[in-house]
Structure formats: structure tokens, C-alpha cells
Amino acid sequence: MNEFLKLAQYPATWIAVTGVVYLLADKLYRLSRYFPLLNPVLVSVLLLIAILKITGVSYATYFAGAKPIHLLLGPATVALAIPLYLNLAKMKQYFIPVSIALLVGASVGIVSVFILGQWFGLSPMTILSFAPKSCTTPIAMALSQEHGGLPALTANAVIVAGIAGAAMAVPLFRLFRIQHEVAQGFALGLASHGVGTARAFQISDTAGAFAGLAMGFNGVVTALILPVLLATWYG
């Protein structure tokens, strides 16, 4: 056991373990033909938690080792500028309707968490962590950190929001007669980021393209309006 404990302190160990676990989770996801509950991030998180529990290694030890992976999140978020730029051209065609839907949707995504969270008696810190849950994970985590939430809680809330939106979207669209594929895709990308975008591409290429557009711009709009809404709601 002593030998193992030395290995747990060696930094490369946790980079390797995280990489292998993620590759396995990704393989499982592909084998299941992209079954939403087998989201590779969710499966990797649960598997790693199980590994840490079994081996008795602390989260602090794990995180110290896996930190180089975590640090790449910053530049990767900045790199989202490229798909965002490529989506700008699509925005031109429907500039006014899309801008209005974006502002309304982003606000509803945040304020509904304030209302529901208070109603269900969640702590202010949990509510803060959930407020950016419709954004793409890197932006949501950065916003959570910035405004005093818990990025770990946010990362998982974002995945749940993604899976839930992707699973509920088509029945909801049918029930409420949302038939326009631009509206369908845009709503999916705005409420459920990358997971919703993947689902939208199964509806049609147009739906997928507008989902990607909504995902990118929702991140920006949420970053801009969250401080304002927080100040108004809790000010």
C-alpha cells in the first residue's frame, strides 16, 4: 500500500488516470450511439469519484495532479471565439428576432433559477452556482467563480441542464407547437449548450447551426447580464 501512496502523490498519475477514464467514457458514449445519460463528462466525473473513494485519495491530492488539464480551460474558452466568429454571418439574416430571443431566453434562464432556487430553499451559493447553467461549461464555470459560486457544482449542473434539455426538447416542441426549425435549434442551443446543439443537429443542419449560434452568444449575453440581474435581485 505504501508504494501506491507514493504514486498518488506523483503529478503525472492523475493526468494519466483522468485521460484514460475520459477515453473509456467517450468510447462508451460512442458505443451507446450518444445516449444522453452516458455523457462522457458525467461518466468520467462519477468514475473518478468512485476511484478516489476506493483508493482513499483526497480531492486536493487529485486536483493538484490533474491541474494542468484544468488550466487549459482558460485558453480553450478563449478559442471559442473562432466558432463564434464563424457563426456571426448566420446572425445577420435574422438579426432582430434572434437578438430579442437571445436576451429574453438568457434572462429567463437566470431568473428562473433565482425564483425556483428560493422556492426550493437552496442556499444563495447553490443558486449562484446554478444561475449560469444554460451556458457552455467553461463560461458557466468562470461566471460561477467570478460571482461566488462553486465551479464544481456548476460544472455538473451544466451537464444536467444539457441532458435534460436534449431529452425534453422534441416532446415539448410538439406539445407547444414550436415547428420552426430555426426556433427549435436556437432554443436547444440557448437552454442546453453543446449537448443541446448535438441534439439539434439530429433535427436538421439548420437547427444545429442555430443551436451553435445560440450557445456562443448565450455565453456572452449571460456574462454581461448576470452581474446586472444579481444586483437587481439581491441588491
Partner: protein, 122 residues
């Protein structure tokens, strides 16, 4: 690769610089992303070396959330006592967001189409 990565990191650092300078309540990564987008707009295109670096960073975006996500392990008690309330908050909020966005956009798109048709009829 190094050129592209340097541009991305430079955008990130500039984002942090602007955040500190103007005390903005916006994460440096978001400002950096907007700066890089603006750079593409000014150049009227994506510099291929930057596109290459960005593809490399985004290809395995999922794994980058994992180390922070595992932090859930430290919230065991909170999840036990509030897990259901947390799950319901996220589920209902996502459903409402999805519906409101879809309904609003469809309404606006159909109204615009009607107006265009009316104009064409005249």
C-alpha cells in the same frame, strides 16, 4: 501551433488586463474570447494558425471540465440533503428556458414572414 497558441494566450492576458483596469464583473476568459472575435472581424477572417490552435484546444473540450467536476465529491452531504431540490431547480428552469426561447423566436420569425409576404403582395 505556437503562433496560434500565443495569440490565444495573449487574448486571455489582455482580457485579464482589461478586467483589472476597468474592474469589470466579467471573467477574463469571456473578455479574451470577445477580443479574439473582434480580431477576426477586423481581419475579416480567421488566421489559419489561430484556427489550428483553437481546433486543438476545442477538440477535447469535455475532458477539461473533469478535474473541477470531480469536486462534487466534497459536496456529498449537501447533495444528500438538497439533491432533489437541486435537480428540480435545474430541470424546471431548463424546461422553461427552452420553451420561452422557442415560443418567442417562432412568434417573431412568423410575424416577420407575414410582414414580408404583405409587402410582396402590395
Amino acid at each position: 501551433m505556437l503562433y496560434g497558441l500565443s495569440v490565444v494566450f495573449l487574448a486571455l492576458v489582455s482580457g485579464e488586463f482589461l478586467r483589472q483596469l476597468f474592474q469589470l464583473p466579467i471573467p477574463a476568459v469571456v473578455i479574451g474570447m470577445l477580443l479574439l472575435t473582434a480580431w477576426c472581424i477586423v481581419r475579416r477572417g480567421v488566421e489559419p494558425r489561430v484556427a489550428y490552435a483553437s481546433e486543438g484546444l476545442l477538440r477535447y473540450l469535455g475532458i477539461l471540465f473533469v478535474p473541477a467536476g470531480v469536486g462534487l465529491i466534497e459536496l456529498g452531504d449537501k447533495l444528500k440533503s438538497q439533491g432533489i431540490a437541486m435537480l428540480l431547480t435545474i430541470l424546471i428552469s431548463t424546461m422553461v428556458t427552452l420553451l420561452v426561447t422557442g415560443v418567442v423566436l417562432q412568434f417573431l420569425l412568423l410575424r416577420r414572414k407575414e410582414k414580408l409576404n404583405q409587402r410582396a403582395a402590395k
